[in-house]
Symmetry: C2
Subunit: 139 residues, 2 copies
């Protein structure tokens, strides 16, 4: 059992979800590839190394992570859910040309809180779309 495996097992235990080989691989993939992957992208990549992997398991694991607060869903597009292991407050920018998703800092306190004084806020998402610098240059 290598160090990162041990670390992941600890994280799972602390969050009250059971460890398993599959979950560690899925979480490991997300930690290493911060591309905000879809469930299908994770499945396609891991099936090469875990031939018995089921797509249902990927969905189950991702849902477990989200419930445990280890990941968040990014619904910047209406036809697919993406997953992000960075659960701290930040915004997401999707390039309409290359499709890549960029993180950017957001000062959430600065977003009009007065109108929402009487609301309990559990989740904050800021989604921008446009063209990234790389794609602007290639035009």
């Amino acid at each position: 059992m290598d160090v990162s495996t041990e670390v992941l097992m600890d994280i799972f235990k602390n969050r009250g979800i059971r460890s398993s080989y599959t979950r560690m691989r899925i979480m490991g993939y997300m930690a290493a590839n911060r591309n905000h992957p879809t469930a299908d992208e994770i499945y396609s990549r891991l099936i090469e190394e875990i031939p018995t992997l089921s797509k249902t398991t990927v969905y189950n694991s991702l849902n477990a992570f989200v419930e445990a607060g280890l990941a968040r869903v990014v619904t910047i597009e209406d036809n697919e859910a993406r997953y992000d292991v960075d659960v701290s407050d930040h915004g997401h920018f999707k390039c309409q040309s290359c499709g890549r998703i960029f993180d950017f800092p957001v000062d959430m306190d600065c977003i009009e809180p007065k109108a929402l004084e009487k609301f309990r806020i559990n989740k904050r998402d800021v989604y921008f779309k446009g063209i990234c610098p790389g794609c602007l240059d290639n035009k």
Copy 2:
């Protein structure tokens, strides 16, 4: 032809999309019911009065409105697209208890622009989730 019909025909013409009875009814529904309805909600409501209405037509019309800048898509939930005739900058709050969606003002300039200096931004969405005051009281 009543006044609002005439107004809608003008709006469509100005935006370069063709007028039709169905489109005017769909746009009329959205203008009267600012609940950020789904395509299905619009369809279910209008089929009572337009028995030949097709769900495909609802989707086609909504897409036409969005392309023409007459509506925006609200993807606050990953399994359904909602539509909003208010295309001005504002945030959306979804109550996780009653499901209602509330609008709230957002100062978009205040959202960290430095990191995105070199990006062209076409669309800005702010989605919050939590519990609305009404549901907090009923607890």
